[in-house]
Symmetry: C2
Subunit: 401 residues, 2 copies
């Protein structure tokens, strides 16, 4: 098989860890696999470099930052290649540029435009393991760029897609994707498989295994992702196409604590007021999540929405500027969002009813509801958040396979 493996910061956290990774790579090579390895910077290195930059400037320019930050991954790539060669496995270290990863010019958060895999293929054909510095590429003008948060995952997925690799293994310090956070529900079960769509919902709801950008790219490029731990040999979770699997009714329960609710009362119901409110919030880069609107008995509009907790004050200030004096702005930080995710919802009715009943049985009041094809999200009081997760996990029998 042709496999792309990606090792994150904690997996290559120090020299001993890099050696352990080299042994894992060798194990896979001995099984006859062709391997491309993508590595992050050793943990702490990127933050140290950012501290260095901040010594000189609170707002360093992106071009210099990318020159600075891209060095960490190059070091890891070189060291891993040295470790592999020393153990008798031919390897070669590549920068993002040498790997053919061409990006746009948006420094510090560049997007990959295309990958020229010629150099990678040439080395693979010579029986070499190719070790690529993640998180980086090169612009068409020849400047080094970095891909932003989760950039090394993106490098791995993009390279796997371009090479049409059989598998893209993402190694972190967790075993895979769980039905819910095991710290909240000890009965949480690791999933063997999950669809891209479900993973996207879970990632956007706070599951920290993978970032949305990487899952989206994997979906787009049809890359079979596996997320697993580099600290043990447990099987991970495969993230793949929906039709490749038995469709579970519900795959997981997510809890997002970074939520605050704003309720606007007595708004003048003039045309375009909602548009004005939400375009104002968008201009301030505030991420509005759930929205409900209803007409009060007095004929005035009530509008409720949720924002990330740390953007609440910003949102309230923005509202004060555009609403007239009669409008009332209420807010509540003590709310969380509980979500049920599963592709099975598409073809099964009654999934939402089960959720509502489970919460009602625990006397948990649901403040807001929003649904998508494969997700039901509910806003509840913060103090009931973890109880809600456990109740839903139980209701859908997620501890059982």
């Amino acid at each position: 098989m042709l496999i792309v493996q990606k090792y994150g910061g904690t997996s290559v956290g120090d020299l001993e860890r890099i050696r352990a990774v080299s042994q894992r790579v060798i194990q896979s090579a001995k099984q006859g696999n062709k391997l491309v390895i993508v590595v992050s910077a050793m943990s702490g290195v990127t933050n140290e470099l950012i501290d260095y930059a901040n010594f000189f400037s609170k707002n360093p320019n992106g071009k210099d930052m990318d020159m600075l930050l891209s060095s960490g991954e190059r070091v890891t790539a070189a060291l891993l290649s040295i470790a592999l060669n020393e153990q008798g496995f031919k390897a070669v270290s590549f920068s993002g540029r040498k790997a053919g990863i061409t990006t746009d010019e948006v420094f510090t958060k560049a997007r990959i435009k295309f990958i020229d895999t010629q150099a990678i293929k040439q080395e693979l054909n010579q029986g070499k393991i190719v070790v690529i510095a993640g998180f980086q590429g090169v612009s068409e003008q020849g400047d080094v760029t970095t891909l932003g948060r989760g950039g090394s995952d993106l490098s791995a997925v993009a390279v796997a897609g371009a090479l049409e690799a059989d598998l893209c293994e993402i190694y972190t310090d967790v075993d895979g994707v769980y039905t819910t956070d095991p710290r909240i529900e000890p009965k949480a079960r690791k999933l063997d498989k999950i669809s891209y769509e479900e993973m996207l919902e879970l990632a956007s709801l706070g599951a920290k295994v993978l970032q949305n950008r990487s899952v989206e790219l994997a979906k787009k490029l049809n890359v079979n992702l596996v997320t697993r731990s580099s600290f043990n040999h447990n099987e991970g979770t495969i993230i793949t196409k929906e039709n490749n699997m038995e469709q579970a009714l519900v795959s997981g329960i997510a809890l997002d604590k970074n939520q605050a609710r704003i309720t606007l009362r007595k708004i003048k119901d003039k045309p375009g007021i909602a548009a004005e409110i939400f375009s104002t919030l968008a201009n301030e880069n505030i991420n509005v999540d759930m929205i409900i609107q209803n007409i009060g008995l007095d004929g005035a509009t009530n509008l409720g929405f949720t924002v990330p907790e740390n953007e609440l004050d910003l949102a309230k200030n923005a509202m004060q500027k555009i609403l007239d004096d009669e409008a009332v702005i209420e807010s509540d930080r003590a709310v969380v969002k509980v979500s049920v995710v599963g592709v099975g919802m598409k073809s099964h009715s009654g999934v939402a009813a089960t959720a509502f009943k489970a919460l009602a049985d625990e006397s948990i009041n649901i403040g807001m509801i929003s649904t998508s094809e494969i997700k039901i999200s509910m806003i509840v009081q913060e103090k009931y958040g973890e109880l809600a997760v456990r109740a839903l996990h139980e209701a859908y029998e997620l501890d059982k396979k």
Copy 2:
């Protein structure tokens, strides 16, 4: 003026030092100069990276090492550019590749083949200060390469030559080139000017300001070098063409303590024996310096030569292998080489006589003598080395301008 400035490891030793360098650069920019800055890695960084590599392998391959080691200079270049931009001076950081420095494929000690200055010129024309990561280039196959010891000096000289810069300033932690080592002779005087040829002799005799490769390249490319300290504002020493200056009779006195003498007695005087001896030493990579040969009264040949002290045992072993049992191999570690260097010797006679008289006056015996157009070297007993330096410094009145 168009000036290339190069700052070495101690000059950019930490973040405070990089800030100090940024202020020095700005001072020069305010005087209206166009500036290209070449930087080394922060002191200690390169050694740390080598330690990392040695954790995995005692003999890491060159290609990976160059990927690894080239990262240190990139960090410094990015940080200095950030510091300059923060202070309102437009700057941009370049890797060796972006600076257009193309080398051969000899990893860890590549040679520069050519420099495409287009990108540098473009930024200079936009009024920017270009900060280049020293010590590195890129091969025509697109792999990053490093230039070996003193590589950042080489980068600076090569870029200055390619840009036809007015000046190439090499900043270190010493003030410039002295008539001799001030620790031996406190009356030693800093030279305002010295010719390439004299600098080459002094460098090969142990003056550590600049390495020969850089001076040779400066000579070849006609680059006016200035070596000065980044820790004060003293004027440095200009290293330039001979005919640009009043020709001093003698410019400096050098002392090389890393010398040992081998004397071979009773060698059979067969044809080709000298060739056999010196080709054997060359094959062992032993650097033979001075040689004398004479026919003894017994008709057998005596051959004396000097080698670096740490290569003495290797040289003796090599000789034992090829000489017959009658030959006698003697050696002496307690010798040093004292040299007088000056372009004035070319056109003045009696320079050597002055040296011999100065040593005779101190009752110092001269063991071997070798001369070049601009140099007289003498082997003396180690215990007289420093006295010999002071006597010669006095004899040529080097404390006076």
